[in-house]
């Protein structure tokens, strides 16, 4: 390669017009940096959202069907018993419905019912609201992970989520007052016996800022025994989501819309695809900068050809083939592209890292293949654009009439 005189000529021409070539290469640098850092940002965003969502992706949530239910707001403190025998008119999932779900979806994973209410709470004179869950003892043991302390055994003990614990400065042994005296609600004091591990966003159970008490204690306070707010299915295999959903719907919704099954994997798909659409859009905008770069490379190459018409004439007249002249100018474009893309790649890593840190908030996915792939990809696009915009000038140079070219001054 060292004695490729054609390559030597390209390199010398670039060196001779160093500033001009540098400016053209900078266009490519900017384009490559823009595309790859936007791409990396998108990839990192997708990866981090996916990670957050995948914790809840294996969950099906079965809620009372919207079908014929008559509005039915939150149940009061007393809790109205079911109207008559038919439960499908009510805003809860009945025991028999739960058993149907367990029977049909049990083979796909763990099926458990929860009660849920929102309640005023007070901790040493600080008032607020919290979600209260009621769960069966055996479900608590298999679904909840205790970070500190233990699961509640008595009706006056609860476990709480870590966010709630932090917000109210609660520790093991702290007391929480449930209910608001001013609103004539039954006031009840409970004791924190355990604090849960952080769980993150979730569809089945937002335990991080909730209070969870045993079923008996919950029913004792809010009533509505065997009238579950929702039934969750934790799938053993996420691929079963559709099969399980179908099984439940076939069983319960045969006559009318008794229950609604929410498949969180579908939701995750739509969120991921939204993020990637966004990324593509942002990258397309970044791509415009490469278009600008292409124009500048084209311009530089045209100038190079115009300035070197006489030289091209000489080269041709002493026996340089058209294809060799073509190659000379393509080399020039490729060198500009490679230099630009190389510098661009290094800068993408630095700038991309910063962008990801600022926009996504974490760089823990930065060095994963899905993210770094955008650097070589953007480099490739950059070099390709250089070659593309160098082709016409090179073709023109190669096809100059040697006599005409020699006459130029």
């Amino acid at each position: 390669m060292k004695n490729d005189i054609i390559l030597q000529l390209s390199i010398r021409s670039i060196r001779l017009n160093f500033l001009r070539s540098l400016l053209a290469a900078i266009g490519i640098v900017i384009g490559v940096v823009a595309i790859s850092s936007m791409g990396m940002m998108g990839a990192n965003m997708t990866l981090s959202v996916t990670e957050e969502l995948s914790a809840m992706a294996n969950v099906l949530v079965v809620k009372p069907g919207s079908g014929s239910s008559g509005g039915g707001g939150m149940m009061g403190g007393g809790g109205a018993p079911g109207m008559g025998g038919s439960s499908d008119e009510d805003d809860y999932i009945s025991k028999s419905q739960f058993e149907d779900i367990e029977r049909t979806a049990g083979k796909y994973g763990l099926v458990y019912p929860v009660y849920q209410e929102s309640e005023t709470i007070e901790v040493s004179d600080r008032e607020g609201h919290a979600t209260i869950y009621g769960m069966r003892d055996e479900d608590m043991a298999s679904v909840l992970t205790v970070e500190e302390g233990a699961l509640p055994k008595t009706s006056s003990s609860v476990v709480i989520g870590p966010t709630l614990a932090e917000n109210y400065g609660l520790t093991i042994g702290s007391r929480i007052t449930l209910g608001d005296e001013d609103k004539n609600e039954t006031v009840q004091k409970v004791r924190v016996v355990g604090i849960l591990e952080e769980k993150g966003m979730s569809m089945d159970l937002n335990s991080d800022s909730a209070i969870i008490m045993p079923e008996k204690a919950y029913v004792g306070r809010f009533g509505g025994e065997d009238e579950y707010t929702q039934v969750n299915v934790i799938l053993s295999d996420i691929d079963d989501a559709d099969a399980a959903t179908e099984a439940i719907e076939d069983q319960l919704n045969r006559k009318e819309e008794e229950v609604a099954v929410q498949d969180s994997s579908r939701m995750m798909d739509s969120i991921t695809s939204t993020v990637s659409t966004l990324t593509t859009f942002v990258m397309a905008i970044a791509g415009i900068s490469l278009l600008v770069a292409a124009t500048s490379i084209f311009n530089v190459m045209m100038m190079s050809v115009t300035e070197r018409v006489r030289e091209i004439g000489i080269l041709r007249s002493i026996g340089t083939q058209k294809s060799e002249v073509l190659r000379m100018f393509i080399y020039e474009a490729v060198i500009l592209g490679l230099v630009g893309a190389g510098i661009g790649a290094v800068m993408s890593l630095i700038l991309g890292w910063l962008v990801v840190l600022v926009m996504v908030g974490t760089t823990k996915f930065f060095f994963m293949a899905e993210s770094l792939i955008y650097v070589p990809m953007a480099m490739l696009i950059g070099v390709a654009i250089c070659i593309f915009s160098g082709v016409y000038p090179a073709w023109r140079a190669a096809n100059l009439d040697p006599i005409e070219a020699l006459r130029a001054d």
Binding site: N3, I5, L9, R12, S13, L16, R310, E311, G313, I314, L315, R316, S317, I318, G319, T320, Q321, K322, S323, E324, P402, I403, L406
Partner: protein, 226 residues
């Protein structure tokens, strides 16, 4: 059997179509040059001397008529073949030197060698040629812009010779030089002729023309009968 002429033009015309009307640079011209001849082409300015030389050198294609170089009809040759012909069989020395500005004197001479051999010169041929034309080692490192006109023309001669061409075409090789340097260049060309090359030289200087074996005079694109 008679030997095939190196150059044979039969009824060759070259017309440049211009908006202001066609310019007939060569007008039904027939010329024959044999191997080993030393020919001078003379004529007033604009008579078509350079145009003729460009046809002979395979740089241009006649509008009509037949042109054969070493027996081959150039009309039947592709651009690639014509380019190879220029590289291998023809040494062209231009009035304006036409060296490559990006390359040093040495590299200018080496350039056609590399094009042909596909490798750098390790035989010392380039250095020897430069020495022969009076360019020393130090000067050979200079770019054309740093050389005098006479030095540039010497480099151009060395370049024309590097691939050992059978035909040497010179368009006013002494036109831009002083009398003394011009005379030295002429001595070199005569030397090359003595070595057996066909030398064709365009000039309007009678002193130069007289040194040739034969003079072809042209006027208005036609050969003037002597």
């Amino acid at each position: 059997m008679k030997e095939v002429p190196v150059i044979e033009l039969a009824d060759v015309s070259k017309i440049y179509p211009l908006p202001s009307g066609d310019v007939v640079a060569l007008d039904h011209l027939s010329v024959r040059i044999d191997r080993g001849e030393f020919v001078a082409i003379m004529g007033p300015s604009g008579s078509g001397k350079s145009t003729l030389l460009n046809q002979i050198g395979g740089l241009d294609v006649p509008t009509s008529g037949t042109l054969k170089i070493t027996g081959r009809n150039i009309r039947k040759m592709s651009d690639e073949e014509l380019t190879s012909l220029r590289l291998n069989a023809i040494g062209y020395i231009f009035q304006k030197f036409n060296l490559i500005a990006l390359l040093s004197a040495y590299e200018n001479v080496e350039y056609p060698y590399i094009l042909k051999q596909r490798c750098n010169d390790t035989t010392g041929r380039v250095s020897r040629l430069l020495e022969d034309v009076g360019i020393d080692r130090r000067m050979a490192e200079h770019k054309p812009a740093e050389l005098s006109g006479g030095q540039q023309q010497r480099v151009a001669i060395a370049r024309a010779l590097v691939n050992d061409p059978a035909i040497l075409l010179c368009d006013e090789p002494t036109g831009n030089l002083d009398t003394k340097t011009g005379a030295q260049i002429m001595e070199m060309l005569k030397d090359l002729h003595r070595q057996g090359r066909t030398v064709i030289i365009v000039t309007h200087d009678p002193a130069v023309g007289d040194q040739a074996e034969r003079i072809i005079r042209i006027r208005d694109g036609r050969v003037e009968e002597a």
